[in-house]
Symmetry: C2
Subunit: 201 residues, 2 copies
Amino acid sequence: MPRMTTRKLKALETKKTLLETGLELFHKKGFDNVTVDEIAKKCNVSKGAFYVHFNTKYDIFNEKFKDIDNFYSTFQQGIPKNISASEKILMFYKAQMIYLRDELGKDLIRNVYMNAMSLTINKNHYLADPDRNLYKVINSFVQEGIENNEFKEELTTEEASVLITRCMRGTIYDWIIFGEEFDVVQEMTKFTSTILNGLKK
Amino acid sequence: MPRMTTRKLKALETKKTLLETGLELFHKKGFDNVTVDEIAKKCNVSKGAFYVHFNTKYDIFNEKFKDIDNFYSTFQQGIPKNISASEKILMFYKAQMIYLRDELGKDLIRNVYMNAMSLTINKNHYLADPDRNLYKVINSFVQEGIENNEFKEELTTEEASVLITRCMRGTIYDWIIFGEEFDVVQEMTKFTSTILNGLKK
DNA sequence: TAATTTAAGTGACCACAGTATTTGACTTTG
DNA sequence: CAAAGTCAAATACTGTGGTCACTTAAATTA
């Protein structure tokens, strides 16, 4: 943590205001109907200042999306010990989908998922970062499942974990491209239990 | 088929030229490095004319992408009769991934998949159109598998087909967001066989 | 064949994300 | 404390996808 000078504090304050105002406007009007100018103006700051703190308009949503890691940690503590690895994964995914749907919202997820695809991201997007908490959580469940003889050992822990998280991304992608009748919680459960079945002995 | 007047013929010729020139330039320089103006200019036509024939820049790639339906038809004819439904699906997917990778290319697929997510598509994108040949092909394989007692009947034919095509979209999404070392053919096989395992009795 | 309708094509224009350059207040250094 | 350096912020600008009002030539109708 660098020493906090007056200037740095003020900059941090600006960033925070931009972030909160951006989220609020996106929520109210939808991502595509909000301009960077509008966010800046509402913060009494220039557009240039926005780009001091964020690389793209998407970054507002990306930043918020990372909150999900906190969700993971708090969720993991409340999970029962006496259920199978599969059940843990299903519980975890179900809670996560409810969180995405009700807390973050489809508009945010759409934009995070779109942004992750864009070529102009030089480094890997957070979504594909193997150090994400998500991968650690799933990995530990899978490991447990293999140790308990619940899952077969055809695939490595890492390979199985990738497939399980791919289930999630695939379902979320479908949630975005299919119409309103798509029930992301139910579809996630259906898809993931089938994959887990395929991994079982 | 409407009667072909001189004018309609000329318009069709313009559209064809725009399409071919667009594809050529996208292939040569990458989608993001080609402007609509550039395509139009190379066809000796104004940018406005481009938008008479296409709704968005993406449409060039979308149109080409639809060629994949022809691929499906020709592929289906050469498939052996005496293998299981699962094997047919795996063969089909493998051939399709090779086609995507080597014929259409990742840049095209990225843009089709991105475009499908955008909110401004009023109707469903082609990718999510249930009348696509893809869904018919997979549906027939699944039906066969259920009739042969290869797959369990927990899920309806439609539900199982959706899951199987979701495997494909999920893998392609990962192909796009993960780095260069991602082997789309191998990953597709791994993911799909696990799902098929989960569907088997 | 003359009048009317249709639609392909034009080109100036707009909106808006992102960039390059400059400014000046704050911080660091000697 | 003064000079030098830094960096948040401002401003003007660019590039590009897409739009709109209009033109013009071909097609249709009378």
